[in-house]
């Protein structure tokens, strides 16, 4: 299973084994990682599962859809070039070792 590291704003790190086909968002919810709110449940109607992807790993992540780009306008923390909605980061073998940084706030 791909390992994903979640880095909290205070630097604390949590590592999860994310089953293939499960999103980085859902894995965080199921495992009780604070900092992912996921208000809409992964329907791309909100931006409360916002993460910053380790910049060097951006090319490993799936391409952003137009819908994700549009919804990223609603992030409560600053939108950066490495901003993603974690509901759209579905675990694949390529994502093994992914590091995502949680924003200061989601709402």
């Amino acid at each position: 299973m791909p390992k994903v590291t979640y880095v909290h704003p205070n630097g604390a790190r949590e590592v999860l084994d994310v089953p293939l086909g499960t999103s980085v968002m859902r894995a965080a919810i199921v495992n009780g990682i604070d900092g992912i709110v996921a208000e809409c449940g992964g329907e791309m109607m909100c931006a409360t599962c916002h993460v910053y992807v380790e910049p060097e790993q951006l090319d490993r992540t799936p391409a952003q859809s137009d819908d994700e780009k549009a919804m990223l306008e609603f992030t409560a923390s600053e939108r950066k070039p490495n901003s993603r909605l974690s509901c759209q980061l579905v675990a694949t073998p390529e994502l093994d070792g992914l590091v995502v940084y949680l924003p200061e706030t989601q709402v």
């Binding site: 919810i29 199921v30 449940g41 329907e43 109607m45 137009d66 549009a70 919804m71 306008e73 709402v107």
Partner: protein
Amino acid sequence: MPAPVVAIIGAGQAGFQAAASLRDAGFAGRIVLVGDEPVLPYQRPPLSKSYLAGQSGADDLWLRPAEFYAKQQIDLIYGDAVTAIDRGQHRLHLASGIEFSWDHLLFATGAGCRPLAVPGAELDGVLTLRTLADADALRQRLEEAREVVVVGAGFIGLEFAAVALARGTAVHIIEVTHKPMGRVVSEPVSRFFTEAHMGWGAEVALGTGVVRILGDGGRVAGVDTTDGRRISADLILICIGVIPNAELARNAGLAIDDGIVVDEYLVTSDPAISAIGDCANFPTPFAPVRVRLESVQNAVDQGRCVADRVAGRPVPYQKVPWFWSDQGDLKLQIAGITIGHDTSVLRGDPAARNFSVFCFRGGRLIGVESVNRTADHVIARRLLAGDPALSPEQAADESFDLRAHARRLPGR
């Protein structure tokens, strides 16, 4: 002085959110969250969409895992029902015999399916869709069904119809009005979705009601319609809207009018009692009349609003309403409340399944309905957060840069 107690009746999206947000807001007292379903709090929207289609499982529905409630010190009591509220003594009585005192009481009781009062409605194979148990029963029945009748063409009915059609099941949609989703969307969007369902193979009967449901050995066999037809069916979904769960509140003497009446702070006629989500009837800057909204957004934002107030930071509830519906390859996104508009203009191309309808009242933008056009939806939510300062001509003109316009507005 003992720590204050907030009791929340209803562990759906709104009740869950209020409990979670109370802790986020620093509330240090006791939180008791009571739900009458025998499962952890879960998301309802997938029940008529991905869950029904078998694309997601129950484990994808839980709002949070069981450990969350322990960690946040939220006393979650599920599979138990509140039977009585003593407003004078601030006591709550549960069916299991549990009793406790509260300082603030929060109704998040949701809504229940409106029953269809016709002969045969009790037959095996006549279902509704509201709860996880409903969805499990429906999912199982749908696997065996060859011909289904959907009574009521609202969001739930049409989402179910789209899932059934995608499976290759024959679908008849019966709607008593002439306008599917008419309580929520404009004429062009209603017509577009009606035609989309016909394109997917549904038979759609508008202006038509059900006279009786026919049975064969206790199982459903079909319906007789008001236009004199007999349609055979082995599964019937009744989805003709909901009734807010307000009986407990009514019995407790609170003001009721299509839901539990609250003010702009979501407080009922008793200052120690609030109501949020599907069961709350509230005033809003987004409509000329009081409204009761059934949506994730409304449940979540009202849960937060009440939590902030109870934690000592009262703010009136004024969030922009938004809604969505997934039907086949179509994603409908609505910002604002478009009912009562006097003008609507089209942006984009319905033939390309990519368009928005901008709705105005008295020259002011009041809501936008988008089909496969998230960018417009996002901008609409921004525009509606203040004075949109947008004319129908600008909205209809695709060369007019809506995003740039939204960015120029103060505070957005």
